[in-house]
C-alpha cells in the first residue's frame, strides 16, 4: 500500500477523477442519451418489450407540436414559472433583508420560515388543496370574514383560476429557498462599504439600490436561475393538487410528459416533451452562464 505521491502525482489526480466522471456518465449523460433515443423511436407499450424499437425520426416531436395541448402546456409552464419565481424572489428577498437585521427572536422566525421548505411537495400540495377548497377551505373563510369576497372562489376547480391556486402554493413553498440563498449572499457583503456610505450620508433606499443590489448581482442571478429551473420542472405539487385539471388548466409540460409516458404509455411522445423541456432549460442555463456566471471583476 505504499506509493510516492510526487512520482505518480498526475496519475493519482486522474484516478481521483474516475468516480466523479463515472457517476456523471452513468447518472447524467446516459439518461439524457437514453431519453433522446427514446424520443426518436416508436416507443409504446406495444414495442416496449422488443429488443429494437422502430426508429421513426422526428415523428414524435411533430405529433407533440401539432397537438393543441402543446401550446396550452407551454403557456401554462411559462405562467407558472414566471409567476412563481417573481413572487418567491421578491418576497424571499424582502424577508432576507428583514431577517438580516438583528432583533430578538430573529433565529426563531428564520427557522420557522425554513421549516416549510423541509416538507415534501406531496404534503404541501395536500394541505394547500384543503386550504384552497371552495367548500371548507381556510382561504375562502378568511377572505369572507374580512369581507373581501362575497362568493366562494373556486381556487382549484375553476379553470380560469386554478393556475393561480397552484402558483400561490408554489410561491409559499419556494420563499424559504430564495430567502436562504439571498441571506447567504447578504452575509458575505463587505461591511466597510456600508460604513463608508453611512459617513457619506446615504439613506436606506440608496444603500439598497447602489450598494446591495450591484454587490448581490451574482447571488441574485444564481437564485433566479435555480428558481426558474426548479419551478419549470415542478410535477408532484401540481399532480397532487389538480392532476393538471380542471380540463387542462394546470397541465404544464412536466405534467403532460408524465401523462403521455405513464398513463397513456406513449413513451416516445412523453420523452419528446421531456426533451423539449430539457432544451428550454438548457437555453436558460446558457443565458445565465453568459450574463451572470464567472464575470466577477
Amino acid at each position: 500500500m505504499k506509493f510516492s505521491i510526487k512520482k505518480d502525482q498526475n496519475n493519482f489526480y486522474f484516478k481521483m477523477l474516475v468516480p466523479a466522471v463515472l457517476f456523471f456518465i452513468i447518472f447524467i449523460i446516459y439518461p439524457i442519451y437514453f431519453n433522446i433515443r427514446l424520443s426518436l423511436e416508436d416507443a409504446t407499450l406495444r414495442t416496449i418489450m422488443l429488443p429494437q424499437r422502430p426508429f421513426i425520426g422526428l415523428e414524435n416531436y411533430l405529433t407533440i407540436i401539432r397537438d393543441p395541448l402543446f401550446k396550452k402546456a407551454l403557456i401554462n409552464s411559462l405562467i407558472f414559472t414566471t409567476g412563481s419565481v417573481f413572487f418567491q424572489f421578491t418576497i424571499g428577498f424582502s424577508l432576507a433583508l428583514f431577517l438580516f437585521k438583528k432583533f430578538p427572536l430573529n433565529k426563531f422566525v428564520r427557522s420557522s420560515i425554513i421549516l416549510g421548505w423541509v416538507l415534501a411537495p406531496i404534503v404541501v400540495g395536500t394541505v394547500w388543496s384543503w386550504l384552497l377548497n371552495s367548500d371548507y377551505g381556510l382561504f375562502n373563510y378568511l377572505l369572507k370574514s374580512l369581507n373581501i369576497i362575497t362568493q366562494e372562489i373556486r381556487w382549484l376547480t375553476n379553470p380560469n383560476i386554478a393556475l393561480r391556486g397552484v402558483v400561490i402554493t408554489n410561491v409559499w413553498f419556494g420563499i424559504p429557498f430564495n430567502m436562504l440563498l439571498l441571506t447567504g449572499g447578504l452575509s458575505s457583503l463587505p461591511q466597510d462599504i456600508y460604513e463608508a456610505a453611512k459617513i457619506d450620508g446615504t439613506n436606506t433606499f440608496q444603500k439598497f439600490i447602489y450598494i446591495t443590489l450591484p454587490l448581490m448581482r451574482q447571488t441574485i442571478g444564481a437564485t433566479l436561475m435555480l428558481g426558474v429551473i426548479y419551478t419549470f420542472r415542478v410535477f408532484d405539487l401540481i399532480w397532487v393538487m389538480t392532476r393538471g385539471g380542471p380540463v387542462n388548466a394546470t397541465t404544464t409540460l412536466p405534467i403532460w410528459s408524465y401523462q403521455l409516458s405513464f398513463d397513456f404509455f406513449n413513451l416516445g411522445e412523453g420523452a419528446a416533451v421531456a426533451n423539449i423541456l430539457f432544451m428550454i432549460m438548457l437555453v436558460i442555463a446558457l443565458i445565465y452562464i453568459k450574463f451572470f456566471a464567472g464575470k466577477e471583476e
Partner: protein, 409 residues
C-alpha cells in the same frame, strides 16, 4: 479469532446457497389491494403453510396508481413477477402486448368459467384468449341518508329511481345553512371519474363509441345542473371516490354514488342510511352501472405458469373463496363467482350486499380496449369542460366523439 470468523461466514454462505437450491420455487405476486383488507396476506400465508413444500407465494404490495408504471418497467427489464393483480380496464393493454400467459386450455379443463359474473369474466378475455381470472367484482349504487330524507319531508323508503327524481330530491335535500348538499359523486380527472360517469352515458343510450346520443348529453346536463345549482359541491371534479364519499359520511351530502369499498366510512356514523339501485333515465329506462374489480394474470415470462395456475385454482375453489371473501374480508367484497355470491345465508342475505349483487347484473365493463387510458382521459376532459362551464354538455360530448373516433376504426 479472525480465521474463525471467516470460517463461520463461509459455512453460513454455503448453507444458504444449498438451502436456496433445495427449497421449493418462490412465486412472486404483486397485489394492489389496500393493505387494510389483509386479503392477500392471509391467502399467501394459508397457501405457504399448507402447500409451502410445493412452492411458496411471495407478496409485494404495489400502490394501485404505480402498478402500470412498475409493471411496464419490469417488463422492459425482464424483472416482472409471476402473478399480478390489475384493475380490470387496464388488463387489456397488457394482454394486448402479450404480457400474460394464455390460460385458455387450463381454464377449459377446469370448467368453472361459467360460474363467474359475465361482465367480470369478459374483462379477462382478450383476442378470444383467456389471460387470467377476475379476483373481485364490484359496482356502484346510490347511497342515501334516511334522516335527511325525513327532514326534507321525503319518504325514506322510496329513494329516487329516475334522473328526474334524483334532480328533484337533490334540490329538496340541499340545505345551505347546514352546509349540506343533495348529492355527491366523483368527476375526478382520473379513472374514477370515468368509472362513475360511464353508467350515466349508458343509461342515456350511449357508449364509448357513440358518446353523444341525446340521452348521454342529458346525462352530462344532469351532472352539470347539480354542480351549477349547488346541489353538489363544485369540488367533485377534483376529489377521488373516497374523498367524495366522505362528504356523505360527514353529512355534507345526502345522497352519494359509490361502491362497497367505502362502506368502512359508514362504520361509526350516527345517521340511518340506505342503498338503492342507480336511478335511470325517465324515458329510456335502461339499467346500467359500472363494473369494477381486479383481475389476476399469470405473466408469460414466468417459469412457473403451472404452479401459478394451481394457486389460482386453489384460491378460487368454493371453500377457500368463501373463507377468504366471507370470513377474512367480512363479506365486504363480492366474490367474482356468481354461484358463491348467491349462496344462501351469505351476501344475498345482507341488505347492502344484496343491492350491489343485483346492481352487478347491469354492470358493464370498461373496454376492453388496449388504449383505454386515452379513451378514459377524453371522457374525463368532456366531464370537466361541462362541469366547469367551459363548454355546454352537448359541445363537450360532440368534441369528445370526434376525438374518440380514431380509436374505433
Amino acid at each position: 479469532m479472525k480465521i474463525k470468523l471467516y470460517l463461520f461466514i463461509t459455512i453460513l454462505f454455503i448453507t444458504s446457497i444449498t438451502s436456496s437450491v433445495m427449497a421449493a420455487p418462490v412465486l412472486e405476486l404483486w397485489e394492489v389491494f389496500p393493505d387494510d383488507a389483509h386479503f392477500w396476506e392471509e391467502a399467501a400465508e394459508k397457501w405457504n403453510e399448507n402447500y409451502g413444500d410445493q412452492f411458496t407465494i411471495e407478496l409485494r404490495f404495489v400502490p394501485q396508481a404505480e402498478l402500470r408504471r412498475e409493471l411496464s418497467t419490469a417488463l422492459m427489464t425482464g424483472t416482472d413477477p409471476d402473478l399480478v393483480t390489475i384493475d380490470n380496464p387496464h388488463f387489456a393493454s397488457f394482454a394486448d402486448i402479450g404480457a400474460f400467459a394464455d390460460l385458455t386450455e387450463k381454464v377449459e379443463e377446469w370448467g368453472e368459467a361459467d360460474q363467474y359474473f359475465e361482465g367480470s369474466w369478459n374483462s379477462v378475455i382478450y383476442d378470444g384468449k383467456i389471460h387470467g381470472v377476475p379476483v373481485d367484482s364490484n359496482t356502484i349504487a346510490l347511497f342515501y341518508n334516511k334522516d335527511h330524507f325525513r327532514e326534507a319531508g321525503l319518504d325514506p323508503d322510496s329513494p329516487p329511481t329516475t334522473w328526474n327524481e334524483l334532480r328533484e330530491y337533490g334540490e329538496k335535500l340541499t340545505v345551505p345553512e347546514k352546509n349540506r348538499r343533495g348529492f355527491t359523486f366523483c368527476a375526478d380527472r382520473s379513472e374514477e371519474g370515468t368509472f362513475q360517469f360511464l353508467p350515466f352515458i349508458q343509461q342515456g343510450g350511449g357508449s364509448i363509441d357513440n358518446i353523444n346520443t341525446p340521452g348521454a348529453i342529458a346525462a352530462l346536463q344532469l351532472w352539470t345542473d347539480f354542480v351549477d345549482n349547488g346541489w353538489a359541491s363544485s369540488e367533485v371534479i377534483s376529489v377521488g371516490q373516497q374523498e367524495s364519499f366522505s362528504m356523505f359520511a360527514e353529512e355534507n351530502a345526502s345522497m352519494a354514488i359509490n361502491g362497497p369499498w367505502v362502506l368502512y366510512q359508514l362504520d361509526d356514523v350516527e345517521f340511518e342510511w340506505g342503498l338503492t339501485l342507480m336511478p335511470v333515465n325517465d324515458d329510456l329506462n335502461i339499467q346500467s352501472s359500472a363494473l369494477g374489480g381486479f383481475n389476476l394474470g399469470v405473466m408469460k415470462s414466468s417459469e412457473y405458469q403451472d404452479e401459478a395456475w394451481e394457486f389460482i385454482k386453489w384460491l378460487h375453489s368454493e371453500d377457500i373463496m368463501i373463507e377468504m371473501y366471507w370470513d377474512v374480508l367480512g363479506g365486504s367484497r363480492i366474490p367474482p363467482r356468481g354461484d358463491i355470491a348467491n349462496l344462501p345465508g351469505k351476501w344475498v342475505e345482507n341488505d347492502v350486499m344484496a343491492v350491489f349483487i343485483e346492481q352487478l347484473e347491469f354492470a358493464q365493463p370498461r373496454g376492453p380496449h388496449p388504449k383505454w387510458p386515452e379513451i378514459s382521459s377524453i371522457i374525463q376532459i368532456a366531464i370537466h369542460e361541462s362541469l366547469t362551464g367551459a363548454k355546454t354538455p352537448e359541445a363537450a360530448l360532440n368534441d369528445a366523439a370526434v376525438k374518440l373516433e380514431p380509436y374505433f376504426e
